[in-house]
Structures are given as C-alpha cells and as structure tokens.
Symmetry: C2
Subunit: 300 residues, 2 copies
C-alpha cells in the first residue's frame, strides 16, 4: 500500500482563501441542513507535557472523501495532520501533513464568514482579543471579506500586542493596540479558561468567539449572553464545550435558542435589537470539505 | 515535514504473536488500573456503500506515543491505518499503513488472552461462531496459548464453514463443522445485529464475544447473561454498545456487576458457579500499546 503524504509546501501551492471560504461555507450550510456526519470530537490530555490533542472527523453527504483530523497543541506549538479517506471504499487516500495549518485556515475562514454575516455593516472597527496565530489569521481573513476594516488588538502581554500590530501593519492591514474606544465588533481568539474582562465588550454589537474549543475553556463572560441572538456552529458541541454551553450552565440563556451558523450564512442575518454572538467550536466537516477541495485542486 | 509511512510488509517483519500478546495484556491491565486515556470512539456510517468507519484513540500513561486509529469495513473489506503521535511533542511520528491488520491481530490477541484466562482448563473443544477473518484469527491465536484445543465452526453459509475448516486444518489446527455436541467454550465473531441461535450456547461455560463493536450490533442472546460472571474490556464502552449493554437494556443483568478484563488477566479467574462471559468491544489502548511495541521492534 502506498499512501500519498502531501506536505505543507504542496498544500500552500493549492490553497487559496477562496477555496477555503467556499469549502467552509458549503460545509457549514450542509451541516445546518443535516447533510453531514460529525461525531463528537475526542480529546486527549498530556498535562506533564502541557499538551492536548483533539481528534475530529467529518463527512458531507455525497462527498468523495471523509476526514479524520488530529490537531495537537504542546507547549503552545500547534501540530497535526488530516487523514483523507475514500468514502466509497474506506481506503486511506492521502495524508495532508499540514502541521495544523488547514485547521488554522478553516477556523479563520469560519470566523471571518460569520463575522461578515453578523457584524454591523458599518462597523469598521474590530477588536481582536488575543495575540496568537488565530488572532492574526482572523484579522487577515476578515480583511478579505471587509477590506476597509481596521483592527484594535488586546492581549495580556503588551509586547505580544505590539508584535501582532506590527505584523498586521506590515501586510497592509490597519491595526493598533486597543484604546478606550469600544469597538462594535469583537473577535475572541484566546485559550482562556476564565472569562475575559467584560469592559472589552462594552461597545460590542457583535461578538465572534473561536477560542473556546474544548471542555474547561471559556472566553466570554456568561452575562454577555443575556438577551442576545446566538448562532452556534453545532448545537450539541457548543452546548457541550462552547461559550454558549458555559452561559447556559450559568443560567443566563436557555439551551434551545441558538440559530445555526450555517443557516445564517445561507439566509443572511437582520439584526432586530441587541447584541449577537457567534460561538464557533470548530467542526470536522470544515476539515472534510477543505481537504476534499484541496485534493481536487491538486489533481487539476 | 517527512512522515514515515510503514507498510504492511515491514509491519509483518516486526510483529510476532508474543509482541502483540504482551502489548495487549499490558494495555488491558493498565486500563483496568486507570492508567490510560481512551476517549469514546467515533463512528461514521456510509449505508449506500455498505461501509462504516470507527476511529479510536488511546494512550497508556508514560508511553512514548499515543495513537489515533481508523478501521473501516466497506462491502465486508477491512481497511485502516494507525497514526502514531509523539506524546511529548504532539508531532506525528509515523503512519502504520496496516490495512487493518494490527486491529485484527490485537482483537485476536485480546480474545485469546481472556478466553485462555476464563474458559475451563479442561475445555478442549471450542466452538467458533462466524467464518470471517476474525473467526480464523481467534482460532489461530488461541492455539498459541492452548495448543491442544480443537475447534468446531458454525456459520450461516455451509460453504464458508467448510472453507474455514479447511484453512484451519491446513495450518495444523484441528477443526470441523459444528455438530450436535455442545462445546464448553464459545467464541462469537460475527457482525450480527440480532442474537445468534441460543442453542449454540447450550453447553457453554464460557463465552467470549468480539463481534459487537458498535451501536446496533448484538451477537449474544440477552438471556444468556442471567446469573453469569461478566468481564468487560471497558465498562462504559461495553455498556454503550457491547453485548453487556444489550443485556442490561433487556433487564437481564445489572449495569454495575462487570469485572474488568484487565483485572482478570492480572489476577486470574476462579469460576465459582455458572457461566462466564467476556465482552470485548476493542480499545484504543490496545492499538496504542501494539503500535508502540511495533515501532520499538522496528528500531532494533
């Protein structure tokens, strides 16, 4: 048996933002319409190595492949790969040795898509909470959809904030450290296990959270959920370990009021009143759809 | 990133029954002592392709690796691979492109170990239910531990029974199609979704079941569990989708009476009275321990 291993350089040659946006949008819509399989993720913990590993699987009905993806973070270093399997024979088709980048890109794409769909159309200021890889990517990918947006950056370490601001500016993106002025849109990208300072959200009409992806994490103060419109990428997964679930367990919001992110992407969103929150925990179907699109692009 | 892909020929050169027996025994004992991580498996179904895929992960505390394993069956053909990951860095270490054989061997090893531990010492006749790959392997691997055993084979298709009998005989194993004489030990290896004929178990003092490995399957008539001693490879997993769980849901046995297979392997088993049943659903730690042992052997 020969198993094709596709390395990161080859993947980079095939992946475009459009490819990932299209794949992720289609996957989230299919998921909201019940045309997917997304088993609950598996998590392994390696506390002595400051590590954890998530395993996610996904399938969009009728696709040529399904995927099983591992994404690990050890001592703050991300790694992982996607295993692509033929959905008609069960034969392993390829290993995408992406070192975790496809997960990073599909997460950024989902965040940008739902932020663009739900944030106020005239909200030209976006506050990013966090200074890591996903903070940078959320800014870059949202800029593809809303080129006029400028970013404020908040983090616990001023040097990390300055570094991210500089990195974004170097790619032509308007960015500065957070000021007192409250932004109408906030994107949270931290690995926080306790709520971030509530004053950061004081001006927020829309919040997109991408950091709360496993049990024990939580970025958004539960009280933010009072009276909001919530969209979840997967109801059960967000209830199990997303910020939505944390707010439900805090008694702030009922467990059955969430819209699905896919339905919002398909139908659009009209704000009636108050704040909106999109809770993204990350779905195996995003991986599956992205992997299939990459393989199709490489075959061309 | 270079990812080592180890094919089946290379795996065969390193794997011995002793290696698999030792790894599986140690993994099951570690699991019974709480020294493992075994997330609940993921299952994907592909009804139009007569396929399903199981994803299992496992880690034995202190091991150099953890594994994520996919095992698929499409149109009765098994396939799969094991992804071996460094447990100190999260880096993918190797892909064991075993086409499902390591899973088959570790399943056979676990069945043989617990059958040898629990079946009557003088039970020289063993009845195998099923005629597939795992039926053959259970006979071959048990013969390593109990060379004097002779086998009867039962299956729904007489030609498949004759074929398996011939195959076993050609490797020097005593085998014949099932007769009226009831065997004191029965090993069930079928993909049955409804109980097998109860008369097949009429003489059984011990039953080992390895076929019921996902929701919807069930080989053993629930009434067989009345008053028996039960050993499960994992309490939660067997309760969720093993024959033990089916019997609990049928009201035949309480949900908290099972011994752990690992404890039986460690401490031995003395039959007091009545029948014993070992319910094996297959654990990710068996994969992890086997994969680590294979990699160590290949490094020598």
């Amino acid at each position: 048996m020969t198993l094709r291993v596709i390395g990161l350089d080859e993947l980079r040659s095939a992946v475009t933002p459009e490819l990932v946006f299209d794949a992720v949008r289609a996957a989230l819509i299919a998921h909201s319409e019940g045309r997917t399989q997304v088993p609950l993720p598996m998590v392994l913990d390696f506390p002595t190595a400051s590590g954890d590993c998530h395993v996610k699987a996904g399938y969009v009905d009728g696709s040529p492949h399904f995927t099983v993806k591992i994404a690990s973070t050890f001592a703050s270093v991300n790694n992982g790969l996607m295993l692509v399997v033929d959905a008609t024979t069960g034969e392993p088709a390829a290993v995408l040795a992406d070192e975790g980048r496809l997960t990073a890109w599909r997460t950024a794409a989902a965040g940008a898509l739902i932020t663009d769909a739900m944030a106020p159309a005239d909200g030209e200021e976006v506050l990013i909470l966090g200074t890591g890889d996903q903070a940078r990517l959320q800014a870059i990918w949202l800029t593809h959809l809303r080129p006029q947006v400028s970013f404020q950056v908040w983090g616990r370490r001023p040097d990390a904030v300055a570094q991210l601001v500089e990195t974004l500016q170097s790619t032509g993106i308007q960015a500065r450290p957070v000021t007192e002025s409250a932004a109408p849109c906030v994107i949270t990208t931290t690995p926080a296990t306790a709520p971030l300072p509530i004053e950061l959200f004081s001006g927020a009409l829309h919040i997109t959270g991408v950091g709360t992806d496993m049990p024990g994490k939580g970025e958004l103060p539960p009280e933010l959920f009072a009276g909001v419109t919530v969209a979840t990428d997967d109801h059960a997964q967000c209830l199990d370990h997303g910020d939505f679930g944390n707010a439900v367990r805090a008694g702030v919001i009922a467990d059955d009021v969430d819209l699905s992110v896919g339905a919002v992407l398909r139908d659009g969103f009209s704000r009636r009143t108050g704040r909106s929150v999109a809770d993204l925990t990350g779905l195996g179907v995003q991986d599956a759809a992205t992997a299939s699109a990459v393989i199709a692009a490489l075959a061309e």
